[in-house]
């Protein structure tokens, strides 16, 4: 009788540790992403678009938009393994408010350059998933922009359980012990295209990595916070890179005139002003000088 009880106890103990170990190995990932390639080249059967030589009419009219997620993909995927269920809705896709904030920051960066006349922030609803260059042509007609900065993002959130997750078996531990380890990796990408020539002018990425921890019950909220932080930091990095790329692009245009044609609109000076004496003033001054010499000679 005693032997049976000992065996039962051992079996119970083994089951318990198996469950704990299985729980400790639990992982989950959430991926939110949009892709410029999916948007511009949605159908691989189509012939490859051959870019022409861009003719940049200065000052430029620039548009900024977030590429939409492809409808079948919906910009999100989830994967979860392990004994504890993973509620991976914690990391939402980029909200419209955050998108507008980011586009405004990028627009402000472009506005610093005298060769940019105006910036149009284009709402996401005007871009159709997989719309390709036909959709960009429509936007060009609607907004009068020649160059567009297409923004996309890719955020992956990994969740693992640390050793502290053993305390979840006490129920209370699930509420108070941060046994969930989160890792949020974000990439924002700005690709600038000349619409008429289909030529990519330059791109600038922004990267970030946020590491954190959460209790089991607080996991969703913490993932949302990490997601927001990830986008904010990636945006800052993107702005810095964008500044560098814009400066490099200016130099590239000067160095490679065969690849980029630049046409100045009438009255555009390229942001250069000169203090110049006009011929009428010079003639008047010469007259005054003549009078000065004549008076001097007479005296």
């Amino acid at each position: 009788m005693k032997l049976i009880n000992v065996r039962r106890l051992l079996l119970l103990a083994c089951s318990f540790f198996t469950l704990v170990l299985a729980g400790g190995c639990a992982t989950g990932t959430t991926k939110n992403a949009t892709s410029v390639v999916d948007y511009l080249f949605p159908n691989t059967k189509d012939p490859v678009v051959t870019p022409g030589i861009p003719v940049l009419k200065l000052p430029l009219h620039v548009g900024i938009a977030f590429v939409p997620a492809e409808s079948s993909y919906r910009g999100r995927s989830r994967q979860s393994t392990g004994i504890f269920p993973r509620y991976m809705d914690g990391g939402p896709a980029l909200t419209e408010e955050r998108k507008m904030g980011l586009m405004k920051a990028v627009a402000d960066r472009f506005r610093e350059y005298p060769f940019v006349k105006d910036i149009e922030i284009i709402p996401s609803v005007y871009l159709t998933p997989g719309g390709s260059f036909a959709n960009l042509d429509q936007i060009r007609t609607m907004y009068g922009v020649d160059v567009i900065a297409l923004l996309s993002y890719d955020q992956v959130q990994f969740t693992d359980e640390g050793i502290a997750s053993l305390t979840y078996w006490t129920i209370v531990g699930a509420y108070v012990i941060p046994g969930e380890k989160n890792d949020t990796q974000t990439m924002l990408d700005a690709v600038v295209y000349d619409i008429p020539s289909r030529k990519m002018l330059f791109r600038a990425p922004g990267l970030s990595r946020i590491k954190g921890s959460a209790t089991l019950v607080n996991q969703s909220q913490q993932l949302r916070i990490d997601s927001g932080k990830g986008f904010d930091e990636a945006a800052k990095h993107l702005i810095v890179n964008l500044n560098e790329q814009l400066t490099q692009f200016k130099e590239k245009v000067k160095e490679r005139p065969q690849e980029y044609k630049v046409v100045n609109s009438p009255g555009y000076s390229g942001g250069t002003g000169g203090g110049a004496i006009d011929p009428v003033s010079l003639l008047l001054l010469a007259g005054l000088g003549g009078g000065f010499l004549w008076l001097r000679k007479r005296s």
Binding site: G271, T272, G274, G275, A276, I277, L284, L285
Partner: protein, 208 residues
């Protein structure tokens, strides 16, 4: 004989020639021009000397020729007539023109040209000339009236009478002329309304 008499009265306009020489040097030494031109981004990053030195940089040969010709005429007359504080006028006008452009022309990335300082010199010359007697006084008054009309036209229309100097691919900046004129009027007013403002002026007044 008359020419000899004229030469004997003439004194070398040292300050005017020095400024012209500096402008020539800056124009023909490209790296110097790049170092001194008014560059808004560079100024924002602390290169404040460009506010002052941008006036010495010219954007084309024609631009340099016109500005230097005008400055030579105005500067020579100021120095020949013995009007004091010419260098102070040039430096204060150049600095304030740079500041005015930085504050009120945010679109301009680059600026170069001596015309604002030339305008300051001409206005100062005319105001000083109007304090004298005889025909010179009326000549200066006529010049000042013509210059005021030109400035007014530039400000109201937003255009310039610039017809010949077109090779530099730049837009004229009437603000530089207006700032130069204002600086000259202020300096003149300070010298005449407050005789103790500058010691040399006070000494000259007391000697008179």
């Amino acid at each position: 004989m008359a020419a000899q008499a004229l030469l004997s009265k003439a004194r070398l306009p040292v300050r005017t020639l020095a400024i012209c020489a500096a402008a020539l040097l800056v124009h023909f030494v490209p790296w110097l021009g790049q170092l001194l031109i008014y560059d808004r981004s560079a100024i924002a990053h602390g290169e404040l000397w460009r506010l002052l030195t941008g006036n010495l940089v010219h954007l084309s040969d024609a631009h340099l020729a016109m500005d230097m010709a005008a400055f030579l005429i105005a500067g020579t007359m100021i120095e020949q007539r013995g009007y004091h504080h010419f260098m102070k006028l040039c430096i204060s006008a150049a600095a304030l023109i740079g500041m005015a452009i930085y504050l009120f022309e945010p679109v301009l990335q680059f600026y170069g040209g001596l015309s604002g300082v030339v305008t300051a010199a001409v206005v100062y010359l005319c105001l000083q000339g109007m304090t004298e007697q005889g025909s010179w006084r009326w000549l200066c008054a006529a010049m000042l009236a013509a210059l005021s009309a030109k400035l007014w036209f530039e400000l109201v229309s937003g255009k310039s009478l610039l017809l010949v100097v077109g090779g530099g691919n730049f837009v004229p900046v009437p603000l530089s002329h207006l700032t130069g004129a204002v600086v000259a009027v202020i300096l003149f007013a300070l010298l005449h309304l407050s005789p103790n403002f500058m010691p040399r002026n006070a000494a000259r007044k007391s000697a008179a």
